[in-house]
Each structure stands twice: as structure tokens, then as C-alpha cells.
Symmetry: C2
Subunit: 725 residues, 2 copies
Amino acid sequence: MNEVVTKQDTQGCHIIDNQRELTTRATAVSRILEPHSVAVIGASASPSKRGYQIIKALQKAGYQYPILPVNPKGGSILDLPAFKSIDELPDGVDIAVIVRPAEEVPDILLECGEKGIAGAVVVAHGFGERGDKAAATEKRLRDALAESGVRIIGPNTSGMLNCTVQADLIGLPELPPKGPVSVLTQSGNMILTVLEDSRSINGPGFDVIAGLGNQADLGYDELVEELGRRTSTGAVAIYNEGFLDGRRFLEAAARVSQRCPIVMLRGVRSDEGGKAALSHTGSIAGADDIALRVLPQMGVLLVDRSDELLPIASLLATTPLPKSQKGIAVLADGGGHATLAVDALSRAGVPLAVLSEDTKTKLRKVLGEEASVANPIDVYSAIDAHPDVFPECIEILASDPEVGLILTTGMYGAYYLRFEESLREAENLAADRIVTLQKATGLPLVFHSCYANSKPENHDILRRGGMQVFNSLDWAVTGSKALFERANWLSEQASRKSTLVPEVSQVAVPSGLSAETSARQMLQKLGVDTGVWRAAGDAASVESVVSQFATPCAVKVDSAAVVHKSDVGGVRLNITGELAQRAANGIADAMATHSPPVTNFGFIVTPMVNGGAELFAGATNDPVFGPVILFGSGGVLVEAAADVSFRAAPFSPDDALEMIEETRVAKILDGFRNYQKVDKRLLADFLSKVSHAVMNMKNLSELDINPIIANESGIYPVDVRLVGK
Amino acid sequence: MNEVVTKQDTQGCHIIDNQRELTTRATAVSRILEPHSVAVIGASASPSKRGYQIIKALQKAGYQYPILPVNPKGGSILDLPAFKSIDELPDGVDIAVIVRPAEEVPDILLECGEKGIAGAVVVAHGFGERGDKAAATEKRLRDALAESGVRIIGPNTSGMLNCTVQADLIGLPELPPKGPVSVLTQSGNMILTVLEDSRSINGPGFDVIAGLGNQADLGYDELVEELGRRTSTGAVAIYNEGFLDGRRFLEAAARVSQRCPIVMLRGVRSDEGGKAALSHTGSIAGADDIALRVLPQMGVLLVDRSDELLPIASLLATTPLPKSQKGIAVLADGGGHATLAVDALSRAGVPLAVLSEDTKTKLRKVLGEEASVANPIDVYSAIDAHPDVFPECIEILASDPEVGLILTTGMYGAYYLRFEESLREAENLAADRIVTLQKATGLPLVFHSCYANSKPENHDILRRGGMQVFNSLDWAVTGSKALFERANWLSEQASRKSTLVPEVSQVAVPSGLSAETSARQMLQKLGVDTGVWRAAGDAASVESVVSQFATPCAVKVDSAAVVHKSDVGGVRLNITGELAQRAANGIADAMATHSPPVTNFGFIVTPMVNGGAELFAGATNDPVFGPVILFGSGGVLVEAAADVSFRAAPFSPDDALEMIEETRVAKILDGFRNYQKVDKRLLADFLSKVSHAVMNMKNLSELDINPIIANESGIYPVDVRLVGK
């Protein structure tokens, strides 16, 4: 291994830690995110230069490992000896911060690679964002990346920060407190936002913060995976404006989410590129709709508001999970906040715990006979002079097996501010007691207090005990919901693990539209039952095919040249024996008189299905997330109904059931007025099989099964359209 | 008038202001909300008693008018001479704060009434909330209210506060700053929330804050109306858990909203009482759904989150309105916040302004040739050392006629914190310049800064200039949306004023279900065209009625005893001449064999309508808001479709058009695949007429017109059901 000894130990820096090199430091990415040596390429003695500020910031932050300035002039910069070239650097440096202009970066990377430097932060912009020159520089950058093997963050990034080793490569006025929240963001301003928000809420602090910039090399997938490996990271907060490879991110997220929560705020939602291009369903499958479903499928917790990213990530990073399937207990002092909490939880779909009679009896002993103890629990009449009722109630609630999480709301912790200064000590003691209780029970406790921004000292007692106290009740509710969502996701993952992608060799979808019979054959080959149908090669043989069915049939043209069969006279319904010939001739006539005439066609005959809900299933090859399955209300009004759910393929029948329940049409499938009850398990199995089939298709562009008629006796795919790239 | 002279002028209080009595003080409610004299009934010399704290709080707040303690022992309380009885008080006192127990309150009110006291704040609880004794006390309270004529706030209220006259009847540690936000709330905790939130955001301050308590007398309607009259109130923030008379509130809100914005957070949304009781539509007309539409109809701006009530009300209270139909310009420093702002505005439905080429050219001069100036405008490359680019850009944008509002987002005002302390002065000057610009142009300016919680001094320059700077981008977006909503509402109101309720005498709806012919007759009498239909008294005459139509007909039983005609064999479709007799006989047979038999019936004959969208219109007499009209997707799947909008009746065709556009089915009405385009004006006119008809029905319980078939040739009410109370 590299022998690395620098001469800087005399200036307060340590010898580069060889031991660590030799044992735990497996990957370049891990060395980048926690560098034990930093070279500054473009170091400067001029305080206005970034190459000075970076070194200053590292020193100010108390970085304990070698800082290695590189400047052709040599000499000393901020009391550190400068190396005249990269080549002069000791071997095995973890990261280089490159603050030289864009044009110089490719050559610098090549030199870094020769010197065995693991990674670099490239600050410069001017790569491909605008203009020919930038595009040429970007080309050189990519070549240098490939040749050197150096992994980079950026270019056009505001930098990276690791609070554990006090490495501030961003250049902040002060290092934020060390804690469990890691952050990945494309926008430098969002780094400032999370830092400021953390200061506002006395957040639990940060592990690693990285600005991804243009993602010329390292993207969300690799970085989140590495953060997920860090035991010092308790949650990853992501601000994302799009993925270079969404499918790889999904795979990484699914792995990371097993251990570490990912909380994501998404940008560029309103006109994100890459709308799904299904001809029937393009208007119902916006990229945002897809992302909103496939990311949570992988355990990613989405937030809609920029003001919630840091608070919710902080809560997830510090709070144990509730047992799934349990409910929430709301502990409030006064009706208003109790009411608002229950309303917001109800809208968020988080169930209230049904308290046992025993619990209620115990609560009444503390709160008085007339107190509201049915959940929400109102401590109103008992609290003002006795802050201890809070830990007393929490202790009682924690012993109720139906309680998965306790949300305290109101003016918790501010009785000494609002009423009597003399309550200060009692409130501090109550907080101490809650910390002890929390540790003993492991129960998640979430706090809202309308006085949180006044920072009562007892709130900080709770925070030091690992809890969050929010000024916004809405954050407390969103956060509680996220905790339950994560608990449910983890428990579902455990039960769904058995679903594996079947080993079927890849089948190529022919370019363009397939004839319906070919489409059905391909689906059947890949394990999807498309029901009873027969092909008839010509008009003359239709009658004999129809006669094989005991019921009236649909007779349709079967051709790769006809996109919408009914629009061109290519469909006849309710055909029985004697009418079959006439129907086939009619269709043939319509094809002949079509402009341009359709010459290459046959017929497909299916039995008529009488009555049932009209459903839709489809697949698209999403440019961001890859194969995605759509399901919802079907028929000609599919776009107008706008009733569709999404999942990344492949998925299990359990996932499919969840997908079905997300649609409005699910209500009709339960049996509704003159609609019969449909076996949702059958439908879920069908959707799961479609999702696996799609994974085994090469060059899929789109698949439309619309309508699918579903009734008491089964699931009938009435029309199938398959398009290859 | 009352001659009121007190002896307290020697103790720093003023003589009660007779002049004001004689001229401007018209109503008891205005005297209650801005009292120029306060009697404290139950005054006490003991610091632990509320009757002491109230006086102390008034003195501490600097209340400049007479404080009149009443205590049977007389003597002196907090240096004020105490009156031994109410009778001894000077005449014409504005308000009495009654801090005596519930049982004593009724008699005290009677004494107050005899003494000409305008109003009272009743703090005690124990009125009707729980138990027989409380119910008896409440009865006595109501009698005393009726007899005395004294108007009260409460009981069970935390009190009232007027910052203009520095009257703190709540007993806060300190009086909040005086400003334009008034607050009405049922929950005392929500008073603390808005006070704390205002402190957090350096809010513009308060005019009047009132806790409504049990609303035994004064409710939201009268109080909001009085606040709307106060020129010192710029916006009313309401926390509401339900109305005693929602209809009266709607009427008051519509008046107040003409001048003064009302921002409302609603509680008890998840299980609010009084679900609409339509037999077909009960499940789609939850009280919350209705409230969500009828309140904005009257100009009320709803917020969903408790953390937004105070910020949004503050913005509305201080910010001029954009011109309606204009767009928003987003001015950002860096891509992240620009992107997030545009996303959030897009989701909120607020349009971006399309900037003129002239504007873009001017912006490029300031920001450089490569800057993004297409809206969002990104100052990124130009800003760091030049805070003046903000006022420069604002000046340019303000001169573009398409810009209705400018939203600034990012790290505005914190460059001196983030980069160079030396920028402090330049940022202050930039803020001064923005204040001057705002005053000169009158344009609404909304600010987000991720550093707002660090309270840069230049933010306070903007605040003193009447602007709001939020730490949350989401608040800035919600607030901007509210400003546009209000501007649009006001401009629509202006154009809709001509719609008056027609002068039709009230028609009583018979109790229970009406026969369909009677229902149609009643609607027609009240101005609603229900289309072509004929009655046939008996089966024998059906054939001749059917023969009057050129088209096939629907023949249906016509009876007040049949709720669902088709469920009992009472409907035959597509009937032509020769089949009419058989159809009629069949229906008659079904009625005879029904259990119990239907004896009293006739027939109704309507021409078949072929093809079209199935719509639904209905009316309910909402227990909270009175007559409400429902419109949406119709047919048998009406509940499953869950596609319905609501308006309080009566309303204009323009309102109805808006109502139609809120449904998903509106898309189909524009012509969609095999559905023909429908004349929405015709439909809107129909709905407006139904809304007026309903206003003229006495004892209406519910009206269902479902389905209404709508196609290219018209609007056809296919089935009509009317139920009286």
C-alpha cells in the first residue's frame, strides 16, 4: 500500500493514517466523503481567492488531517508548506479540491490519477452548461475521468463537508454541529437552506453534506449508497432535480432504505423532461406522477415542501420507528391543537391508537375524572402548575400495546414562559423524565410546541435526549406519517422478499406496432395469460373460428399497420355464426378502402365479455426510471378519468394489490351497485406477471392492455397493443 | 346620552370619552372590540387571582382608559379605587370582564344590563359543556342575555385584546406589537400560536385578538363583520371549529371580503357533524367538502396548515393586490430556489408572467448576457458582490405590464452573513431602494430568504416598508397564490354583482318524496326548464302519450312511493308506439306485485336521449351552510366517481361555469373522443337557475337530478327526485 508520511505533523496536522488505508478504506467514494487528507490544487495566499478560503475554512473547522496546498510558486500558504506540483504530493491523498479554471481541470485530473489521488471536488463551472467551448472542455473532462480513474464530485459544485472529520470543503463561516443528517443536493443554495433551517430548529446536526453539481461522474446513486454505509449517517436528505440514471438510483435506494431513511425533496417537477410516450396514455403518465410512486416503492420518503426537508430528515435520523400497524396517541394541552393534530393526521392517513380501558382509567387518575382521555388526550385541566403530567401520561401511553408513537402538541415546555417563571425547574425535570422514559421504552416521541421558536431550555433537554421539538404542528404530523410509512415499508419488504424476477431469456419486441395476435403471443410466452382468443388468417376462415365459441364474439382486424382498430372500421362486436362471414368481409372491405389501403392483415376473434369494470394496464419504458407499469380506470375515457397508479417493474402481487388500492376504480372492484365484486388477487397476480414480462422484453417502447374487463368470473384483456422501439 | 365621568383621571386614566360616545360609537360590538372603559367584575387584590391579573395586565399594557374594579369589599386594588357593586359604576361602561364563577354570571349580566354596560367577556367555563348543572346554568345565561341586552364574548374564553387601545383582557406577559392583523379563534392555544409565530417572523403586529369560547352570544359572523369595519384591521385570521350559523357567516364574509381579506384555518374537519343527507349523494357531500368550496365562494382564503395562518394573514394584511389575470415574476439567486419556486407556483396554479423582450434586454444589461432572464430570473452570476442588482431587477420587472407580483427567493439579504461583512451596508441600501420602489409602483413584492430566521437587518427594513420576508419558500408561494386568489375574487365579484335573487314567492316542498311529475312542475314553476316530458294518469293513456313523440321514449312510474324506480321494475326504455301499452302494463304489474304494493301511481313519459355525458346536479340543505348546490359526474357511479363541486345557492351562471370547471367531467364536456362538445354556458345557466329555485323552496331536504345527459344538442334532465323535510 501507499506509504504516506507528510511533514505537516509539526504544524498540527497528523500523519496520514496508514492503518486506516490498509484496513477499512475500501472505496474511492468512501475516501472522498470522509477524506483523511486534502490537497488544494490552486492554493493561494490571496484572501480573496477560493484557493485561500478553502484552506482557511479547513483550518477554522479544525480539520485534523493533512492539508496539502499545491501552488507552482511553492512557499507557504496559511502557515502550510505549498507543494509546487501534484507530482510532489505524498502518495495516497484522499481528495483534491480543484479550484483552477475549467480548461485546466482535465489535465489536473490526469496528474491526480497518476499520483493515486482517490477523488476530487471540481468547483469550476464552464463544462457543457452553455456554448461550444464549454462542450469541448466537458469532452476533455470525460476523457480525463475515464483515463485517470479519479472519481469526482462536480463540476460546478459548491463542495463537500464532513463534520466527523471537520472537513469543510465548502467554505462556511462556521462548521455546523456534527450529527446524523447527511445531505445530497444539486443546488448550493439548498445547502445553505438546510444549514439555516437546522440552526432555526436546533437540529441534530450533520454528518456529510455534498453538492453534486453537474454530476459528470458521481451521482445520487453511488453517493447515497456510500452514505447508507456510514454508521454516522442516520438519514439522508436529498434535493434532486433529476437523475442521470433513475433506475440505478431506484436500486441503490431500495438497498439503502433497508438500513437508513432517505428523505427527498424533488425539483423540476412541473416540466421535467421525458414524459412517458404512450399513445393512449401519454397524458396520464407525466414523469412527476411516475416519480411520486416509484420512489416510495423503494422506501424513499418524499416531501413536497422545501421547508420540510431538513425537519423531516432530522426526525427520521433521530427517532426510533413505531411498530407498523399500530396507531398514534395525541397528547395535547387544550382543544385547538388536539383538534388540528387529529385533523392533519386524518388527512395524512395516520391512524389514531384505540386506547385500552386500562389506559384510560390510568390517564383519568392523572388528569381528573372529567378529562378527555379517548385520544386525543387533553391535559388541559391538569397541566398549568404541574408539568409532570406529561411524563406521567407518556409513561401510561407507552405501556398501551396499541400505541405506536406519541405526538405531544400545544404549548409543551413553555408554562414557565407563559405563566410562572417558577415552573422552569419543574419543566426541566419533566423533560429529564421523558428522556429517561424514551430510552427505557424505545417508543418514538414527537413534539410540537407553539413556543419552540422561543427555545425553552427544556426543549433542548429533549433534543439532547434524541428527540425533536418542532414549532410547526404540520411538521410533527408529516414527520409522524413518515415514521409510520417507513415502518410499514420495512415490514412489507420483509414479506415481499420471496418475489424474484423469473429467469426468462430476453425477448426482443419488434420495432413499431405489433399485430395484436403477436402481442398476445409474446405476453403469453413471458407468462401472462391474455385469455381466450383465436387467429383467423383470412376472411374465409373467420366463420369457422367464430363457430368454435359458444358465445357471441368480437371480430377484429389483426395488423401491425392498424393503430386504432375501431377508428378504421376494423371491429365488429356480438358476432355469432351466421354473421361471421359478413363481419369479416366488412372488415376486409374497410381495410381495402382505407387510405392508404391496409393490405397485410388477418383477424383475431375473442368471445364477448358481458359487463364488468373497464380497467387499464400498461407499461412504459420511462426515460428516467426504466420499465414502469401503469394501472387504472380503462376504456375510451382513460385520459379523462385520470385514475392511474404506477410502479417500477418488476413487483410482487402484494405490491400490485397496493397499486390497485391507490386507484378510485378499486371501489368499484369491491362490488358497487350493478358492478360485481372482482377478485383483486387475480388482478394483482396479472399485474405482477405483466411487470415481470416487461422486464424480459428488449426494446419495449409501450404496452397497452385497454380495456381489461373485470367481473365476478375473471379478468379479460380485451385489446392488447405492443410497440417496440 | 350617558354622562360618564370617573374619578380616575388622577391615577393616569382618562375621563371616559363622551364625544366618542355621542358620535362614532354606534354598536355594542364595536365598543366591546375597542373598549374605552373596562370594569373588572370580581377584581381582587390577591396576585394569584384572575381578577388581579387582568387589572395588572391592563396596567402593564399601558391601557389609557378607565379601569374600574368591582369588589364588594371596596377599597383599593392595584392603586385603583374599587366599586362595591356594579350599580355604583359610572354609566356607559364599554365592557365588563367577568371573572366570577359560572353560577354568578347570569345575575351579573342582568346588573350590567341595568347599568347600560355594552358588553362582557365571560371567562368562566361550566356552561353546558358537561353535566346537568352546567346545562341549567347555561339556560339561565341565555335568559339573562335576552333580558339584559348585554352582548358577550364567551363564556369559556381566554379573553380579548386590542392593541390600538392597549387593552389586554387576556393577561399576556407583554402586549404584542400593534399592527394590522386581527384574530378570531375558538381555541386559546391558537392565540398563543399566532403571537409566537408573529414573534418568530417579525410579523406586522395585531389589531384585535378575540377568543370566542362557547359563542353563547357573539359568533364569527358578527365579530368578523365588526373587524371588517375597523380601518386598523388589514386582515382577519380565523381559527374555526364550526359555525353556529354558517349561512350568516357566509353572508358576513362576502361583505367583509369586499374590503378586508379573511384567512381561515379550519378545525374539526375530519368528523365534522352535519354530513349532507342526500340519499344518492350523501357519501360524496361531506361537510368538509362543502366548506372547502362555499367559504372561498365568499372570498374566504383557506389555509390547510396551522403554521401558515399567521404568515399568510400577515402577508394579506400588508401587501397590495396584484392585478388579476397577470402573472408572477420569480427573482432568484441560484437555480435551486428558482426551480422550487416555479414548481410550487405551478402546483398552486399561479401563472408565471411572460416577460416582454424589452424587459429581458434590460435584465441582461444588469445580469450579463448569459443570465437566465426568461422567468424565473436568476441573478446568480451577478449578485455576490452587488446586492443592488435586486432593486435594479425589481425596477425593470415592475415596468413590465405582464408582471402582477414579484417573488424574490434564495438567500436574499444575507450576502453579508454568508460572504462579506462589508456588504452589510450595500444590502441595507438595496432594501431602502426596494421600499422606495414598492411605494412608487404599488406592486406587490413577496420575499423568501433562507436566512430570514437569522434576521438580517435589511429584512427588517423591508418589513418596516410594509413587506414580508419569509424563511419558508412555501409560505411565500401560498401567500402569493392567496394574493392572486383575492384579486381574482374581487374582480369576479365586480362582474357578478348584477345577479340578483329573483322575486319569487316561497313554495313549500311537500314532506317526503314527491312524484317526479310534481318535482318537475315545482322546478318549472321556479324557473328551471326540466325539458320535454308528459304525464299519463293511467296505463291506458300511455300509448297515446308516447305517440305524441317522434322518437322512442322512456316510460317510468310516477309515484311519491317509489324512491328508486328502476330497482322496482318501474322503468322501460326505448319504447315506441306499439310497445307502449305493454310497457305500461308491465310497470303496473310490477307495482301491484311489489311488497308492499304501490297503489297510488301514474306514468311519466320522456323522449330517449341518445349519447352524451352523464352529469349530476343536486341540492342539499346543509345544516351549517344552508342551501348548497352539487354538480359533477352522474349516473349510477356517482359516488364512486367522487367528482363533484359545490356552491352555496344562489349563484350566477359565471359562478356555475367555475363550478363546472372544477370537475373532472369538464374535460369530457369540451368534446372528448366519442363525446360531443357540450355548451357549458347552457349548463351553467341551468345550474344557476336550480340554485335560485332552491332558494325559493321552503322545507327542502334534497333535490337530485341524476343523470342529466349533456350532448351537442342540449341538456336533458333524465330523472328528478325531490324530497321535502
